[in-house]
């Protein structure tokens, strides 16, 4: 390597310059399929991992609720500040919906809509995380004053971690899209290019949409547990 390449080569021709690296087309196709599959499986598996984590939290909630030791599960039916809780829940679900909507628009070819939805949900997630942290400073009860209080603190910690992980995934996708938009301009951009970078991007994006759907479900479930029940 080290030769300058003529300007008038097409993207495909330029990309084929890499084929001197001796992998046969079948091997390349195999690796691409494997990698796409790994992204698909990995995305679902991450949902499975978080499911068990939140199931443990839900278990703690219901266990302590049914044990009601010393009548201290939820004395006086205390509830965490409902306004903050509702806001966090609403924003999280909105972000999830935005991401799902964005992916639908992306699939019909409009990558820009996905980007706008994505960046909006990034801002929204930051707001939700900030609200969650703020809510912890505004609790009207001591963390150890009841089982409910303890579970709420635990939920806050896990929720922050979950939201930050979703934030990371969507933000890195958006950053990559910003780069790929220019690099793959002639090939149809990330929505239509068949180059591996685009295929992997799309696989990761779909996984991220599911992940955000999962985040929305978790937010709803635990909003019900902590604020409705």
């Amino acid at each position: 390597m080290g030769d300058a390449v003529a300007d008038d080569k097409t993207v495909t021709e330029r990309s084929e310059d890499f084929l001197h690296l001796n992998e046969t087309p079948e091997e390349i196709a195999f690796e691409l399929r494997a990698q796409e599959g790994a992204l698909w499986t990995g995305g679902r598996l991450v949902i499975g991992i978080w499911t068990f984590a939140f199931a443990s939290l839900a278990f703690a909630y219901f266990y302590l609720r049914s044990a009601n030791n010393q009548d201290l599960w939820r004395p006086h039916d205390i509830t965490a500040p409902t306004a903050a809780g509702a806001a966090i829940f609403a924003i999280t679900v909105a972000c999830a919906v935005l991401n799902l909507y964005g992916v639908r628009r992306f699939r019909s070819g409009v990558a820009l809509d996905w980007e706008v939805a994505g960046w909006t949900s990034v801002l929204g997630t930051l707001l939700a995380v900030g609200l969650q942290i703020w809510q912890l400073t505004d609790l009207p009860f001591f963390p150890g004053s009841s089982g409910y209080a303890s579970c709420l603190i635990g939920w806050a910690a896990l929720n922050i971690a979950l939201l930050l992980s979703g934030l990371y995934w969507i933000e890195t996708l958006l950053a990559r899209q910003a780069r790929l938009r220019r690099a793959l301009l002639e090939d149809g951009g990330t929505a239509q290019s068949t180059l591996p970078a685009a295929r992997m991007f799309r696989a990761s994006m779909e996984g991220c949409a599911y992940y955000w759907g999962f985040i929305g479900v978790v937010a709803t479930l635990f909003w019900v547990l902590f604020y409705v029940l």
Binding site: A34, A38, N69, P75, C151, P196
Partner: protein, 669 residues
């Protein structure tokens, strides 16, 4: 050597190198991320976190800057782990991704330095894990020697009670942390891609991350000792956990950290096994070791989050003063027990299943017969994995929890012994009318089968609730799990090491020393732990330093044998150093005449594993058949005919690791 690394920017056409050099490309070896930077990062991180914790606790003058400031301990350890991972370079790519950058191209290194770095080569990660696991094993083993020294006499004490209980807890925790990755880490990482005919893992950086966080966990759990130790043993029961002093934070953070590593390892291996199997490798042809790892991955990814969450609750109880595990404040001590054992039981199958996999993989090679009942074996391991989620309350039969559930959990625990027993169906069937060669790996396999039988049968005793009333919490339980984990898993681990080390190192292990290792290990293992069944039946509880006078002879047999057992490990160390460094003899490519795909590569294995991705034609168990087809088509004919190159990369090509966006090859994830 300085590497001419060019920064890929979208303005560059492929093949064009920038005229400017990347500032990082002229860094010396020492400046690039390595374990020394990791240590520095860990120390700096710890100091920052500790300081921050003191700031947070500044309103509580009796706590701030004392050894009892749990906030400072937890934050110090957490920041220390983050600093360690930053130092090793694990955070570089994740942070670069946030800016939309792809990783800089790298050349697969060939020097010894790569073992002290984050690497994308799964074989290097496997070797790193081997060293790490053995380090854990020897540390925990030293602690075990200390325990048995204390138990030589019921009345003369070597350690104070606080020190003793810290040693007991440290031994148990280190060993459990080690054993969860004992096979998945070293052999799973090294062998799974080779066995499935793949050049790489699905998520190589995640795998390297899991190793370095495994070592971070080792450092964290060792900090427990200077921080005052923890008095709960490895099971960490609340509210003793809440009451304990500073070392308890090391336990909670350590387990959370190890848990994250386990999740990452399971995540990566599962994706690899499902998607990176070579063409032609249908599920019917997957080696049984890979099936075992796949079943283990299901548990690693799904059971470990419960441990991390339980650890989080414990940390919150100790720092934020929540009341998850405190009965008097609306929490419940049973909550910890339930959460811990919901993880804890799948955890022991995380340890047992890879051991089964190794033995079933190795046995056909030394019996020269196909594996008997391959499908039943695979189904059995998946069945064990599934059922393991439904048995956890058998650790809690006398706790006062859920008496109505006791018959159910007794039933499920008894039922799980059915798929566990498939191990014996398969191995005995493979031994039937075989032609057994007693090479060292085979010796360890047979030892494993002997030991695990005792361990497994005594497990059935424990699952019977009335008998459990006598033996729960006694040395009977202890002997049971040492027989299954040490007698099962560790014997299988050594079987695997002796079997695959000639492939990994390219050198032959000394046969005499191997045999000495096996016989001393086997004999002294049984002499150490069998008396403990009797000691437990006769009324000695676990984790005690005083016991009935009449039990001293049995304890002494156990202790003295334990010292010899510890010494037996030196045979392995000496063998390894002698065979690999002092008097190395090159091993043949396939010394055991195995049909496994991992043996079809060159020795030592090149960084790209296979010259061409193999096309798998059949499973590797067709021993004893005259016209058995080759296991795989490795493309040798095509190479010989000059139709394809024999190397997948141009050795002079420096940008093979990094992928431009226009590259038609898949990016490294």
């Amino acid at each position: 050597m300085a590497i001419d690394v060019t920064e890929q920017s979208p303005d560059l056409f492929p093949g064009e190198t920038a005229t400017r050099q990347h500032p990082l490309s002229t860094r010396t070896e020492w400046a690039r991320p390595n374990v020394l930077w990791a240590i520095a990062g860990g120390v700096v991180g710890y100091l920052i976190g500790h300081w921050l914790g003191n700031v947070i606790a500044s309103g509580y003058t009796n706590v701030q800057s004392s050894g009892q400031n749990d906030v400072a301990n937890v934050l110090g350890l957490s920041f220390g782990v983050v600093g360690w991972m930053g130092g090793i370079g694990a955070l570089n790519y994740p942070l670069a991704k946030m800016l939309g950058r792809e990783p800089a191209p790298t050349v697969p290194e060939q020097s010894w330095v790569r073992y002290f770095r984050m690497t994308e080569d799964h074989k290097v990660v496997g070797i790193q894990y081997t060293v790490g696991v053995l380090l854990f094993l020897f540390t925990g083993g030293l602690l075990a020697m200390a325990i048995r020294t204390e138990l030589l006499s019921p009345t003369s004490h070597v350690f104070g009670p606080g020190t003793y209980i810290n040693i007991v807890g440290e031994h148990g925790t280190i060993m459990m942390m080690m054993a969860s990755s004992a096979v998945v880490g070293p052999l799973g990482n090294y062998l799974v891609p080779l066995m499935i005919g793949s050049r790489r893992m699905a998520f190589p950086r995640v795998e390297a991350f899991s190793f370095w966080i495994f070592m971070a966990g080792y450092a964290v759990i060792l900090t427990a000792l200077p921080l005052g130790g923890f008095p709960t043993g490895w099971t960490g029961y609340a509210p003793l956990q809440t009451q304990a002093s500073g070392g308890m934070d090391s336990y909670l953070v350590g387990f959370a950290v190890i848990g994250i590593g386990m999740i990452c390892a399971g995540f990566n291996l599962a994706a690899t096994i499902i998607h990176y199997r070579a063409p032609g490798m249908t599920w019917n042809r997957v080696p049984i070791f890979v099936w075992a790892i796949l079943a283990t991955c299901a548990l690693l990814t799904l059971a470990t989050p419960t441990l991390v969450v339980a650890g989080l609750f414990g940390i919150l109880d100790r720092t934020a003063q929540t009341a998850f595990f405190v009965n008097e404040h609306g929490g419940s001590s049973f909550l910890w027990e339930n959460l811990f054992w919901f993880f804890g039981h799948p955890e022991v199958y995380i340890m047992a299943l890879p051991g089964f996999g190794i033995v079933m993989e190795i046995l056909p090679v030394f019996t020269r017969k196909p594996l008997f009942a391959y499908r039943t074996a695979a189904a059995g391991m998946l069945g064990v994995a599934l059922l393991s989620f439904f048995v956890w309350q058998h650790h809690l039969f006398q706790s006062g929890i859920n008496p109505d559930m006791r018959p159910l959990f007794m039933l499920t625990t008894e039922l799980i012994s059915i798929p566990t027993g498939f191990l014996y169906l398969v191995t005995l069937g493979t031994l039937w009318k075989a032609k057994i060669r007693f090479d060292p790996p085979m010796l360890f396999c047979l030892g494993m089968l002997f030991n695990f039988l005792i361990g497994g049968v005594t497990g059935v005793f424990l699952s019977d609730v009335p008998v459990d009333v006598t033996v729960h919490g006694s040395f009977f339980v202890l002997a049971h799990f040492h027989y299954t984990i040490m007698g099962g898993l560790i014997f299988a681990l050594f079987a695997g090491l002796y079997y695959w080390l000639p492939k990994i190192t390219g050198k032959t292990m000394n046969r005499k020393l191997s045999q000495w290792h096996f016989w001393t290990f086997f004999i002294f293992f049984n002499l150490t732990f069998f008396p403990l069944f009797l000691v437990g039946l006769l009324g000695q509880p676990r984790r005690v330093f005083e016991y009935a006078q009449n039990l001293q002879p049995l304890n002494d047999i156990s202790s003295v044998s334990a010292f010899f057992l510890g010494a037996s490990f030196f045979f392995f160390i000496i063998n390894f150093i002698w065979s690999v460094y002092i008097n190395p003899r090159k091993a043949p490519d396939n010394p055991w005449h195995s049909r496994g795909l991992e043996w079809q590569t060159a020795t030592p294995v090149p960084w790209y594993n296979f010259e061409r991705i193999p096309v798998v034609l059949d499973d590797p168990y067709h021993y004893g058949e005259r016209d058995a087809p080759a296991v795989a088509d490795l493309g040798q004919e095509l190479i010989a005919a000059g139709r394809v190159s024999s190397t997948p990369v141009d050795p002079d090509d420096l940008s093979v690791g990094g992928r431009d966006d226009l590259d038609p090859r898949p990016p490294i994830l």
